[in-house]
């Protein structure tokens, strides 16, 4: 049978606020256990939450970033359940009235087309702590550093039909939130966690099948693999005449399977009710406009501008724009060298290669945009061949100075003096009578190949510094005149 997969995604996004959503504790990742948990985070008797305005502003930024409606009056609710790493016995969340209401998010696919995803809602909530099972013998430790960290839970409609779409959405979301500066989006540190609702139906059917929810998938690759594996599992069941149980499942990356969570852990009645310790968040149009004024240029607009203003291909724009720092770097390079296409090529090619090899982000690049631009200028003006340019690039990476300094100290200047080149070409032709004879006997197609020998010889003689375009022209002229 031909199955169509239908999916909706819930992303828990950790907001990059200084302090926690309801307490003054730091929300930084990586402190020693329980060092960043105060009396509020511990749920001590008599303690009260105080809302962090920065979390509200970030949520509104997100809402404006996807063109969503901002709830003019959103309310916190208590979600009640017992768990050792949930100190108060309830999580403060937003159930009835979320801060971000319906919106639309346009996800760019690899071919440059846009794929619209309906956002159902996004609401603010506090994170729970962590249970630590692998440190103590026979005992579980509790680390409440994460308790109270602000989360924005972003929920979509069931608009996804393939794993590729889901991953494209997550990548675009990651790009958006880093552009907005509201999250570091770091999946390995749990800043972006994804729950996937998956169901199958016969192709052409309009009704939704029974869904399962895959919880807490924490990398783009795992999302893709978890979806494929869950698709296979559900298809197998349906094809053998079985039915899907609505349940929560966990993805086991090592075995590449999803497993059912114990039903005990999921059969909860959360008994939501409005949190009486907090006032409703009332947001007026002045506030919204003030936040809107702080929005940066977002990835969609930037892609359009990069293709129209700089003449970049959709493909190059789609590779550069999602990474905010890379886009900034690109624009800085272009500002100095006025050559967008070579700039894109260098950034996506040699620079990205070197950064990847050294596991560095572009922000940490030892080559500043100004220096890369200097290199491109010297290529454009013919001072450097592409071969020489790569040498200069490597030297620049090693910190040997800017292009002109390296060219000077290494004596790498391209030979574009036609007299000097001519002398070298004449010498090579004179010293290679056999090759010349062979060349002259060959047809047009073979000649092209055979000319490489002469180019190589001249390059060798010039220590690689001969201007290749000039050399080629000169060489052809001289060889063809030999007959």
């Amino acid at each position: 049978m031909n199955w169509e997969i239908v999916m909706g995604l819930e992303v828990h996004l950790q907001l990059a606020t200084q302090s926690k959503i309801f307490s003054g504790s730091s929300a930084q990742f990586g402190a020693a256990p329980n060092e960043q948990a105060d009396a509020v985070d511990l749920g001590m008797p008599g303690m009260l939450p105080v809302l962090n305005e920065q979390a509200v502003r970030y949520a509104v930024k997100f809402g404006l970033g996807i063109g969503a409606r901002i709830g003019d009056r959103s309310v916190f609710d208590r979600k009640n359940y017992f768990y050792p790493d949930l100190p108060k016995g309830y999580q403060v969340s937003q159930f009835f009235s979320p801060i971000v209401c319906e919106g639309m998010f346009e996800v760019p696919l690899e071919d440059g087309t846009l794929f619209p995803i309906r956002i159902t809602r996004a609401h603010l909530e506090e994170d729970a702590g962590k249970s630590v099972h692998d440190v103590f013998q026979q005992e579980t430790g509790i680390d409440l550093n994460r308790a109270g960290t602000p989360l924005l839970e972003i929920v979509t409609e069931p608009d996804f039909r393939s794993a590729e779409q889901a991953v494209a959405y997550l990548k675009a979301l990651h790009s958006l939130v880093t552009y907005l500066g509201i999250s570091d989006g770091n999946m390995s540190e749990g800043s972006m966690r994804c729950d996937i609702n998956v169901s199958l139906r016969e192709k052409g059917s309009q009704t939704l099948g029974t869904r399962t929810e895959i919880k807490n998938v924490n990398s783009f690759r795992f999302v893709e693999r978890a979806i494929h594996s869950e698709y296979e599992r559900q298809a197998d069941i349906l094809e053998s005449g079985g039915t899907i149980t609505q349940e929560t499942r966990l993805y086991d990356a090592e075995q590449n399977v999803t497993r059912s969570m114990r039903s005990k852990e999921v059969a909860n009645d959360y008994r939501y009710f409005p949190e009486p310790d907090l006032l409703p968040i009332v947001i007026d149009s002045d506030y919204i406009e003030a936040v809107r004024a702080t929005l940066p240029e977002l990835p969609g607009a930037k892609r359009t501008r990069f293709t129209s203003d700089y003449g970049l291909s959709e493909y190059d724009a789609a590779l550069i724009v999602p990474h905010h720092a890379m886009a900034d770097y690109f624009e800085a390079v272009v500002q100095f060298c006025k050559a967008p296409k070579p700039a894109a090529n260098w950034i996506l090619g040699d620079l990205s290669g070197a950064l990847n090899r050294n596991e560095m982000g572009i922000e940490e690049s030892p080559i500043t945009p100004e220096r890369l631009a200097g290199l491109i200028v010297r290529i454009e003006d013919g001072t450097l061949s592409s071969k020489l340019a790569k040498q200069v690039f490597d030297a620049m990476w090693e910190g040997e100075g800017d292009t002109d300094e390296i060219v000077a100290t290494r004596g790498l200047k391209q030979v574009s003096d036609s007299g000097a080149l001519e002398a070298m070409v004449d010498e090579v032709i004179a010293n290679s009578p056999d090759q010349v004879t062979q060349y002259l006997a060959a047809d047009e197609a073979k000649r092209k190949k055979l000319s490489g020998f002469f180019v190589g010889q001249v390059m060798k003689a010039s220590k690689g510094q001969a201007n290749p375009q000039m050399l080629n022209a000169l060489l052809l002229e001289k060889l063809n005149n030999q007959s």
Partner: protein, 492 residues
């Protein structure tokens, strides 16, 4: 000056004595500690006494007084209800769950009063987690009513009321979620004020029902309550529900002139259900106010009869979540040898909480459960708004609403313990005030067969001043607030 005079003097009087150096704070503190020592065994009003800390504060107060650097309550001994977190001093909330709990922080009320120079003597007994109207639910045993040791003092601030009436301290704090300041004040013959919701910070007060809880003072006079409220009140950045309003100096603004004051008498309070003796005392008090220039006007609070049902959905629902943190994991009581997590939760909570607390957690959990939320919690929230609207309309006609503080005088131990509904009826005249977030005050209105009864005065939102003024005038014109229990039988 005899100890007895000293022990039953008002805060205002004591302030003068301290200022005049007629008595030192240390002497006063010693006298209170002695009184606690001699009477608490019989009354059980105080759970924790901190004599050394108190004497140290008293000496610091004396040196401040000597330097003329005194604040509004410098050197005045005080007992806090054991629901206020006190840094370094055990805070039990009347529960086995917190029997060993020593907070690392002071409640805002505690630190504000400390800043005004009070001398904290210790912590008062109370109904467990403030759930009760008789002080019979405390893990630390019942509190006796000093007017009759076979009777309850009221609750939940029963320890505070009994301690005050016995002269253990001239000033005590309480909290009031459904009547927990006003009803024990009525039953013990003292003055108790529940401020407007949001007037006093809830930070550091162990939560029962967050949308209803409010702290307030209990004292021998309305004037003392005005002094104490000025010290306690104010916007607190740590409590989002505290009101961002200036705090008037309620004490210096006290004005006994009641000319033109309109006092509303709800027909729903003064109906046939009202005990005739209570009615007689309340009417006697009201006619005093009338003589002083106030006019009495019949009004309607048409949805009053829904108050109990509404309250007993909302308060337990909020409590069921507020008390979820007592799980035996991080602090508080933990059962012995739990076999697994489920067992840890079940036994820690079953053993750590008393019967009434468990009852309310169950009621609240039920009211919030899937399928019942709309019928119970949501409906109760709607009725709460209707009740609030009743008061708003009534206050278009009158300045103060008056009624009894409690349906009767103190009752014998056990009389209502087996019948939760009868117990809940104790707060029939006070609950609606919490639902509407209004200020309410109980002031003594004389005795019935030797037992005190209170007049309740209800004010407009944030207008504590008017009800304090009316009570103050009543206390100028009558001496009901000066009646004292016979303590000779106690301190034996």
């Amino acid at each position: 000056m005899t100890d007895s005079t000293l022990l039953h003097a008002s805060v205002s009087h004591l302030r003068q004595l301290l200022k005049d150096r007629a008595v030192s704070s240390e002497e006063l503190t010693q006298a209170c500690l002695k009184q606690i020592d001699e009477t608490n065994e019989a009354l059980n009003a105080v759970i924790t006494v901190c004599p050394e800390q108190a004497l140290e504060s008293a000496r610091a107060a004396d040196s401040a007084l000597a330097k003329g650097e005194s604040k509004s309550l410098t050197g005045i001994p005080l007992l806090h209800k054991d629901i206020f977190c006190t840094r370094g001093v055990r805070t039990t909330c009347g529960s086995r769950m917190l029997e060993q709990f020593v907070p690392a922080y002071d409640a805002t009320v505690v630190s504000k009063m400390k800043a005004e120079g009070v001398v904290m003597l210790g912590k008062c007994n109370m109904d467990e987690f403030a759930m009760g109207s008789s002080n019979e639910t405390s893990f630390f045993g019942t509190v006796k009513n000093p007017w009759d040791l076979s009777c309850v003092p009221g609750g939940s601030s029963g320890g505070s009321a009994a301690a005050l009436a016995t002269g253990m301290a001239p000033l005590v704090t309480g909290t009031d979620t459904g009547g927990s300041i006003r009803q024990p004040a009525s039953l013990c013959g003292v003055t108790g004020l529940k401020p407007t919701y949001g007037r006093v910070s809830r930070l550091g007060i162990i939560a029962f029902a967050s949308s209803l809880d409010q702290a307030g003072p209990m004292a021998r006079t309305a004037e003392d309550c005005a002094l104490a409220l000025t010290a306690m009140a104010g916007m607190d950045d740590g409590d989002s529900t505290s009101a961002n309003l200036p705090v008037p100096d309620f004490h210096s603004a006290l004005n006994p002139n009641l000319q033109g004051l309109r006092i509303g008498l709800p027909r729903e309070y003064f109906n046939d259900d009202l005990n005739t003796d209570v009615r007689a005392r309340v009417m006697a008090a009201l006619s005093e106010l009338e003589k002083a220039g106030a006019s009495l006007i019949d009004i309607d609070l048409p949805h009053s009869h829904y108050a109990i049902a509404t309250y007993y959905v909302i308060a337990p629902a909020e409590a069921s979540a507020n008390l979820a943190r007592y799980d035996g994991v991080r602090f508080g009581y933990r059962c012995e040898q739990p076999s697994d997590l489920e067992d840890l939760y079940q036994r820690s909570r079953s053993e750590g909480f008393g019967e009434e607390v468990q009852r309310r957690i169950l009621v609240g959990t039920y009211a919030l459960s899937a399928g019942f939320y709309d019928a119970y919690f949501n409906k109760a929230q709607q009725v709460r708004r209707v009740i609030t609207e009743d008061f708003r309309r009534a206050f278009e006609q009158v300045d103060v609403i008056a009624g009894p503080s409690a349906p009767g005088v103190a009752f014998p131990f056990g009389a209502k313990q087996q019948d939760p509904i009868a117990m809940y009826m104790e707060d029939i005249y006070t609950l609606a005030v919490n639902l509407a977030g209004l200020p309410g005050l109980s002031t003594p209105a004389g005795l019935i067969n030797g037992m005190p009864v209170g007049l309740q005065l209800i004010g407009k939102p944030f207008d504590e001043q008017t009800i304090l003024n009316a009570a103050h005038r009543l206390q100028i014109d009558t001496d009901w607030h000066s009646a004292r229990p016979n303590l000779e039988t106690i301190a034996s």
